[in-house]
């Protein structure tokens, strides 16, 4: 995997995507090797989506949903959390560090947090 | 030559049996030592059958050794390692060499032992095994063929007074009694009230005439051992007050304390006539059994 490999960020439209948007408007800087994919809910991300992202060359995947208790679809973010856990094990089986996939919870105005998470993942990728 | 166990059961007031546990390997020196030590101190000497599902020198072979040394063996047979053909064959052989007493057991699970990938047999269970021995005793094999040379076994089985829940165990116990028992050797008991309750239940059951109950006695030599048994050994439960008592004994006196505690237990059973005797299972410490019996006043 390349040292500046791409990060795929699946962002829930209600929270993380709005935070990403806000980060853009506030011109908060973060690494540019990230592709933001807007989804209606974190629960829409399947385990296979995560694996396919890696298959297509991603070096890290972030699943970004609402804070627990705030999911518009009630448990989408909980399901996402479980799937990310499962995906970690599947990646480990393949010999890929489970830390390359992460579940993060957001409120819609957490622009700084968005930038930080991207930076952290980019660091992790560089480390290996 | 030792007195036939069947006779002893009928006539003696307080019966004592003990156990010789074979080791792993063809070296029988220690086994012979234990046999020599115990054969004249007890009415019957049991030999375990791959105890705890750990592969060992066989029960049948050890019973032969006991015979050779003039003792009275009790052959323990489990259903875990042999099917109905092998069991019948072994019983014919045993009888032909003067081994007349058999303890019919289901057997500890494979997982308890050291050959964890072995195939468990359990072609029969303990109740079916008891019936089988009766069938052989009547001169036929399991499928009705006449035997050329019969057998006449004295039949024993086990019971678990400390089972929780107790009701299913009592149903099973009744089935064993229905099949016809000569003696019962229970799993380890420590609580005399529990043993008394068990005996009360026993006296309310059917088909109890002439059946002798020997309370199982497993000495404890330390708190760690007792806790280990509670966690890992099926059917054994050592109460906290006894664990505390052995724990409080200073280092270096544990053996003596264990002997004293075990002796006390046996003495109480004998003096209060709680049941017909005891079966002492010293598991690896057979050499301490004579001291235990002495402490018990036997």
């Amino acid at each position: 995997m390349e040292k500046d490999g791409k990060i795929i960020a699946f962002c829930c439209a209600e929270s993380a995507y709005r935070a990403a948007d806000r980060a853009g408007r506030l011109r908060i800087r973060y690494p540019d090797n990230v592709r933001v994919i807007r989804i209606p809910c974190a629960g829409r991300v399947s385990v296979l989506h995560i694996l396919k992202a890696f298959e297509k060359g991603a070096a890290g995947v972030l699943v970004m949903g609402c804070q627990e208790g705030a999911c518009r679809h009630l448990t989408g973010n909980i399901r996402a959390k479980e799937r990310v856990k499962y995906a970690k094990d599947l990646l480990k089986e393949v010999g890929i560090n489970g830390q390359r996939v992460k579940m993060v919870n957001f409120g819609p105005d957490m622009a700084q947090k968005f930038a930080r998470e991207i930076e952290e993942m980019a660091e992790k990728i560089k480390e290996e | 030559m030792a007195r036939p166990f069947r006779e002893t059961l009928k006539t003696k007031d307080f019966i004592v049996t003990a156990e010789a546990g074979p080791g792993k390997g063809s070296n029988i020196a220690k086994l012979v030592e234990h046999i020599e030590l115990l054969k004249d101190r007890v009415d019957g000497l049991n030999v375990t059958d791959n105890q705890s599902a750990v592969m060992r020198y066989p029960s049948l072979g050890t019973c032969l050794l006991i015979k050779e040394h003039g003792g009275e063996p009790v052959l323990q047979i489990t259903c875990r390692d042999r099917n109905r053909l092998a069991i019948q064959a072994d019983l014919l052989f045993a009888y032909s060499r003067g081994i007349n007493n058999v303890l019919c057991l289901t057997g500890d699970a494979i997982d308890t032992g050291d050959h964890k990938e072995a195939k468990p047999v359990f072609d029969l269970d303990s109740v079916q095994l008891i019936h089988l021995v009766h069938t052989l005793n009547s001169g036929k094999d399991m499928v009705g063929n006449e035997l050329d040379g019969g057998v006449d076994f004295c039949i024993g089985a086990s019971a678990t007074p400390s089972a929780d829940p107790i009701e299913p165990q009592l149903l099973k116990f009744q089935k064993k009694l229905d099949a016809g028992m000569d003696f019962i050797q229970t799993q380890a008991v420590y609580d005399m009230d529990e043993l008394k309750r068990f005996m009360e239940n026993f006296h309310k059951m059917d088909n109890i005439d002439g059946v002798k109950i020997l309370a199982g006695i497993v000495p404890i030599w330390g708190a760690k051992m007792a806790r280990y048994m509670n966690e890992n050994v099926p059917g054994i439960y050592v109460p906290q007050y006894l664990i505390d008592e052995i724990d409080q004994a200073p280092k270096g006196t544990k053996a003596a304390k264990g002997i004293e505690m075990t002796g006390r237990l046996i003495r109480q059973i004998k003096e209060e006539k709680i049941c017909d005797g005891v079966h002492v299972m010293a598991i690896g410490r057979e050499e301490r059994v004579p001291a235990i019996l002495e402490a018990a006043g036997i």
Binding site: L51, E55, I96 | D125, Q128, D164, L171, G235, Y237
Partner: protein, 220 residues
């Protein structure tokens, strides 16, 4: 239904060593329900195989397919048709019956089982499957209040329980598992039919099904 679980990835990869073009075939019936070998699982395993191969620098092309019921020859042929021609080996995510049906239909292709078929069972709750039936061919459930002693008793006793029952009615082998005979006792007690457990049961006929089993039946 038949319950199976996927083998560890390493074991599967070892089976496939040296093959460059494979077909992964799932089954749409039992193994889909128990999350072992359905369409999703085919997708996941195929993805893992590709990722692992590319990491090792090995070539591996993985085709994916799912047969409605892998143990039915017609369905297999209909679904897989010519796909098998294009590959060197087949990785089946079906149960043992599915693997062997395909092995027979495609005799020249090596076929590997991705699953370990484990038992006949049912879902106790989502994600938890328990063994219920041992396919012994001599059903005893009428006598035990509907609880199978052959597979739910660790020793398969017909006159249980054994003396190893742990406190609280748990099994000698596993303190997390219930002693089947304690369960049977409680069930029969509820129904007022404890007489059934009081009865002596003769040794089981272990030759009720002579393996390999075979049944011929007529359609009504």
């Amino acid at each position: 239904m038949i319950i199976a679980a996927r083998k560890p990835l390493e074991e599967i990869r070892n089976m496939l060593a040296g093959y460059k073009r494979i077909l992964v075939v799932g089954c749409g019936t039992c193994v889909t329900i128990c999350w072992a070998g359905g369409e999703k699982e085919v997708g996941i395993l195929s993805s893992q195989l590709r990722l692992a191969s590319s990491k090792d620098g090995n070539e591996l092309s993985v085709m994916e397919a799912v047969v409605e019921r892998q143990c039915e020859k017609e369905m297999v042929i209909e679904e897989l048709g010519d796909k098998v021609q294009e590959v060197e080996a087949i990785l089946s995510m079906g149960c043992g019956a599915g693997v062997q049906t395909m092995a027979e239909l495609f005799e020249e292709k090596p076929i590997f089982p991705a699953l370990n078929t484990t038992f006949i069972g049912m879902p106790e709750k989502e994600g938890l499957w328990l063994e219920m039936c041992g396919a012994c061919g001599d059903c005893f459930l009428d006598r035990t209040g509907g609880i199978c002693p052959v597979v739910r008793c660790a020793k398969g006793l017909l006159n249980g329980p054994c003396g190893g029952t742990r406190k609280g009615g748990k099994c000698e082998i596993d303190p997390e598992k219930d002693c089947a005979w304690v369960l049977i006792y409680r069930r029969l007690e509820k129904q007022g039919r404890l007489a059934l457990m009081r009865k002596y049961y003769e040794p089981k006929n272990y030759r009720a099904v002579k393996r390999p089993g075979k049944i011929e039946a007529l359609e009504a």
